[in-house]
Amino acid sequence: MKLLKEQLMKISKALVFDIKRFAIHDGSGLRTTVFFKGCPLRCLWCQNPEGLNTQRQVIYFKNKCIHCRCCQQFKEQINYQNDRPYFQNHQDFDQVIKTCPSGAIQYDSQEYTLDKLMNKIKEDEVFFQHGGGVTFSGGEPFMQGEFLIEILKRCQKEKIHTAIETSFYTSLELIKKALPYLDLVYIDLKIFDEQKHQACTNVSPQLIKENIRYVLQSEYKDKVIIRTPLIPTMSATDENIHQIVKFLIQINPEVKYEMLNYNSLASAKYELVNLKYRLESYQTFTKQQMQHFYDVALQAGIKNLIKE
């Protein structure tokens, strides 16, 4: 009985750490991107560190704080070091947040019911009518897979174009349930080599590869774009790209493949969640360098290469 209730909760509510309207880089047209909280991977270069943890946390925006000390009345919940509050997590912070006049103290995420999320998505419906839609991202959206499938069904019913950005590190069962309701599927295949993948993301790529093999052979194969984020010294090597492409075209020679340029600006959010950015700073790849990677992929036999 208890299990059933928990399951129901899972379907009816999701933890979302951000909703960006006017998203222009996550699929066709003007989109709303929903960022689900929680991720099974721990990529060293992660761009959304606040999306890793599955729990709701309190975060502190240093730039917003006016140092009014209104929060000092909640001594049991907050410690101060160097004029910065640190939070005893897993507590109810509603009162603290309500009291903070500047909004410097906030939850990093919000719970959404299906209705609430659907209403939020529909706010920009008029913009979707000219080629846009909704994109589910994260974190890993499949971490809250049951809810994801329900919201996808709703979107399809409302004729809203749907896309997903996923690591595919999830159960095939969930994937199969979601695919009929998706119009566009972005799947990351970051590193081909088993050990390197494990070292850089904290998980084995085996499950990801199996799931990709399934989807590229399924009736949904045309909706799929496989992506590799180019991280210097990790995924951005000739060998890695060669291996990934060989693997993909062997399953489906028509597969669409895209490489995403490294973005050196990810470290900004780490301070918010009090985490350390563990990557050295690298430069973005130049046009020539990108061309080199394109050439590697083409030589390995990719037919449908998506360029920037």
């Binding site: 996550d26 761009q47 006016i66 909004g103 600006l265 301070e271």
Partner: protein, 777 residues
């Protein structure tokens, strides 16, 4: 269109124009004064007509080597014209400060000041429009000036779109024949009107011929062809495209000479010039490149007429917004979308020149073409803030329903000045009759009718924030206070309009505004087919934010007491910084697609609009409203004390008119459009203004431009009347780094996400600034 280029002729002329110095000129004032002195016994309309005729015949004129379009109202370019009939006192007071004042400076010549003081000013004392209004109603205007800014007190009414097609079809000769014909059988009271129009049209003919004579006399080889055109136009209407453009420019020069007003706008030029263009192209006597060069010469001309305002007015309308507004695209009289080569050539000219004039507008609708939109987007991406976009779907219907304008006239709407809407060639719209500061009225409502800045009693004492038991009580008082100032404003408006009839009849303008010639009635007296007056509401965004803060934090959630908030406002938040932070952060703001807040703005805009329906203007036409401020949000803000939205005393109000307060729209551009779309379009029949900022990077790729088109198409669907874009440059980002509080909503693409620039770490900001400079993303 892509192979068209800017010729050397244009670059040379542009350079020359921009390097010339700007002076205040008294030449026309001298001529007008002489004519008035020599004809004391005649009526004002006659004296006005004779003095315009004299100016057309006597003013020193000049031409520039190689220009394809000639004519100006002063010998030098960009001269500010001293115009005694409308106002002399302010010039007398401010003449010496013209070169050094903070906004819109002009050089002056010592001998001009002397002549003005000795010969011109003494004659006009008590005889100008300005003095007449001051004399009869100055006190009343002054009493309400903190709340209502009455305009057109010392200059003639502009913001008019003449019937250029009629002018091109008939020319001054044809119009004169019409007037002469009418004069034969007219009533006695119409006689003077027709006589005046004949006088000014004679002057117009003479004016054109003088340019031919000058070119011949000075034997300027490069202008021979142009000289021929001028003499042709003095004899008959234009036949070629080049003649038509030259004729059009003469029309606008003469209108400015007659009225020295801001914003006579050409309107739908791509429509009425097209037959001339098409005929020449088909004959093979004109190429696209040649047509573009002629247009670009006209574009340069649009930048050579500036308008001299008094110091205070220059603050409200900073940067010489003279407003040669051109509207391209849009539906035709049958409702079908229409655009042509000329629409695209207009965009090309703007792309090449990037100057402040003309004020280029694109009319959009459900069926706007991809080609026109992409051409327009290309120009937007260059960052001149042009073209701006108007929405047929939002504008036409309210014109018909709220103002009783015929469908074909509404479909043929044009824009005058900045964003003011008008019908084409048959309307005295009297835009910007006054600006009504709703935020000041709220301030008075909260504080016993007393100004927070001066403590003076200027409104009704209906209580204060402390005494209103409920939010509803407060709203009731606010409504009464609004009514009080509207009544005062309307009484003043009648005085101003009457003074214009008495002192500034405009015979020449009346020949190109439909129905004046038919009716034998000057345009200031109601000769136009449509006679509107527009009042601007200032500013709904701050008002919505203030009311939302009071409603939620004071009355609903009781997080702030009535007493404390009133005190905080009185103290300009000194000692109340935490409360101010709460007001700014703990309640939603207009522009974030939060229905109840947006609705507060709309509710009062609609109240004001409805109230206007009860009044009729002096010409017998209806009042309507608009939401645009030009630069007035700054001086209007200087009149307002601290406000419940968390704004400090004296600080600017929201820019634009429909725009959210800068920095408070935190949900991105789609949310802004949604919020603005909640404003009832009946409230903006005189025009609305929405500003938005984008980064240049958005337009770098074809995909970006296509997504921008998607955005504009949604703007059309949402029935928002107007939008314009600032494409943000590096300087803005640098400023955002130093003053983050002013740039809260500036968003930037960081990685797989878009972030608020000011929330990023300093180093990261630097990096983004760098990469923006190199433009390599």
């Amino acid at each position: 269109m892509n192979c068209l280029y800017q010729t050397k002729r244009i670059s040379k002329l542009k350079e020359k124009m921009l390097s010339s110095k700007r002076y205040a000129s008294i030449e026309q004032a001298r001529i007008i004064t002489r004519v008035y002195q020599e004809n004391e016994e005649l009526s004002i309309p006659k004296k006005r007509a004779l003095s315009l005729k004299a100016a057309l015949e006597k003013l020193e004129i000049s031409v520039e080597d190689e220009e394809l379009i000639v004519g100006n109202r002063t010998k030098g370019v960009r001269y500010g014209v001293v115009f005694p009939e409308s106002g002399c006192s302010w010039i007398n007071q401010e003449f010496e400060t013209l070169p050094t004042r903070p906004q819109d400076q002009f050089l002056v010549k010592e001998e001009d000041i002397k002549e003005f003081r000795e010969k011109i000013y003494p004659y006009w004392k008590g005889k100008s429009l300005e003095d007449a209004i001051k004399g009869t109603y100055g006190k009343e205007i002054n009493e309400i000036s903190k709340v209502v800014k009455i305009n057109q007190k010392d200059h003639a009414q502009g913001h008019i779109c003449p019937d250029s097609a009629l002018w091109l079809k008939l020319g001054p000769q044809g119009l004169m024949e019409k007037a002469k014909e009418k004069l034969k059988n007219c009533k006695d009271e119409q006689k003077e009107f027709y006589e005046c129009t004949i006088l000014v049209l004679e002057g117009a003919v003479h004016f054109m011929q003088r340019y031919h004579d000058l070119i011949e006399r000075e034997k300027i080889e490069s202008l021979k062809e142009v000289g021929k055109i001028c003499t042709n136009l003095s004899k008959r209407p234009p036949e070629t495209f080049h003649e038509a453009v030259q004729s059009l420019w003469f029309l606008f020069v003469i209108l400015h000479m007659e009225s020295n007003a801001s914003s006579f706008s050409p309107g739908r030029m791509d429509q009425y010039l097209y037959p001339y263009y098409q005929r020449d192209i088909e004959k093979g006597s004109l190429t696209k490149q040649e047509a573009l060069e002629i247009l670009e010469c006209l574009w340069l001309k649009f930048n050579q007429v500036v308008y001299l305002r008094n110091q205070n007015s220059a603050k409200y309308f900073a940067g010489f917004p003279i407003g040669f507004n051109i509207a391209i695209g849009g539906v035709d009289e049958k409702g079908n979308d229409t655009y042509n080569d000329l629409s695209l050539l207009c965009l090309k000219a703007q792309e090449h020149l990037g100057l402040p004039q003309p004020n280029l507008s694109v009319r959009l609708n459900k069926n706007s073409s991809h080609e026109l939109m992409q051409a327009a987007i290309k120009v937007v991406s260059l960052g001149s803030g042009m073209p701006q976009f108007f929405n047929d779907e939002a504008i036409i219907q309210p014109m018909i329903e709220d103002l009783g304008i015929e469908e074909k006239d509404a479909r043929n709407y044009a824009i005058v000045g900045c964003v003011e809407l008008t019908t084409h060639g048959n309307n005295l719209g009297w835009s910007d009759a006054a600006m009504f500061n709703l935020n000041k009225v709220l301030e008075l409502t909260l504080n016993h009718g007393k100004c927070l800045l001066t403590k003076q009693q200027i409104g009704l004492d209906l209580g204060s924030l402390e005494t209103y038991q409920t939010y509803q009580d407060l709203e009731n008082a606010f409504q009464k206070q609004i009514d009080y100032f509207i009544d005062k404003m309307m009484a003043t408006e009648k005085i101003v309009e009457k003074a214009h009839q008495d002192y500034l009849p405009t015979a020449f303008l009346s020949t190109v505004i439909d129905d004046c010639l038919e009716k034998g009635l000057d345009v200031t007296k109601g000769g136009a087919k449509y006679n509107l007056s527009g009042i601007q509401m200032i500013q709904v965004a701050n008002l919505a934010d203030s009311l939302a803060a009071i409603k939620q934090l004071v009355y609903d959630d009781k997080m702030i007491s009535q007493h404390d908030l009133l005190n905080a406002l009185q103290e300009d938040f000194k000692g109340y910084e935490i409360m101010q932070t709460m007001l700014l952060n703990k309640v939603p703001k207009y522009g974030n697609d939060v229905k109840w807040v947006d609705e507060l703005g709309n509710q009062w805009a609609c109240y004001f609009r409805e109230k206007m329906k009860r009044y009729t203007n002096y010409r017998g036409g209806p009042y309507h409203t608009g939401m645009y401020t030009v630069s007035a949000h700054v001086p209007m803000g200087e009149n307002v004390g601290a406000s419940p939205d968390g704004r400090n005393a004296l600080k600017p109000l929201a820019d634009g008119g429909m725009s959210p307060v800068y920095g408070r729209d935190l949900q991105g551009p789609t949310a802004v459009l949604k919020s603005v779309s909640k404003l009832n379009n009946s409230c903006t029949t005189n025009g609305g203004l929405l500003n938005m900022k984008f980064l240049p990077e958005f337009f770098k790729t074809e995909t970006g431009c296509l997504k921008f088109e998607n955005f504009l198409r949604a703007f059309v669907d949402l029935k928002v009347p107007h939008i314009q874009f600032n494409v943000v440059r590096k300087e803005d980002l640098l400023d955002a780094k130093v003053h983050p509080e002013n740039h809260q909503s500036l968003t930037i693409r960081v990685a797989g996400y878009t972030a608020y620039f000011v929330e990023l770490a300093g180093k990261l900001q630097d990096e983004i600034i760098e990469r923006t400079t190199y433009e390599n993303i």
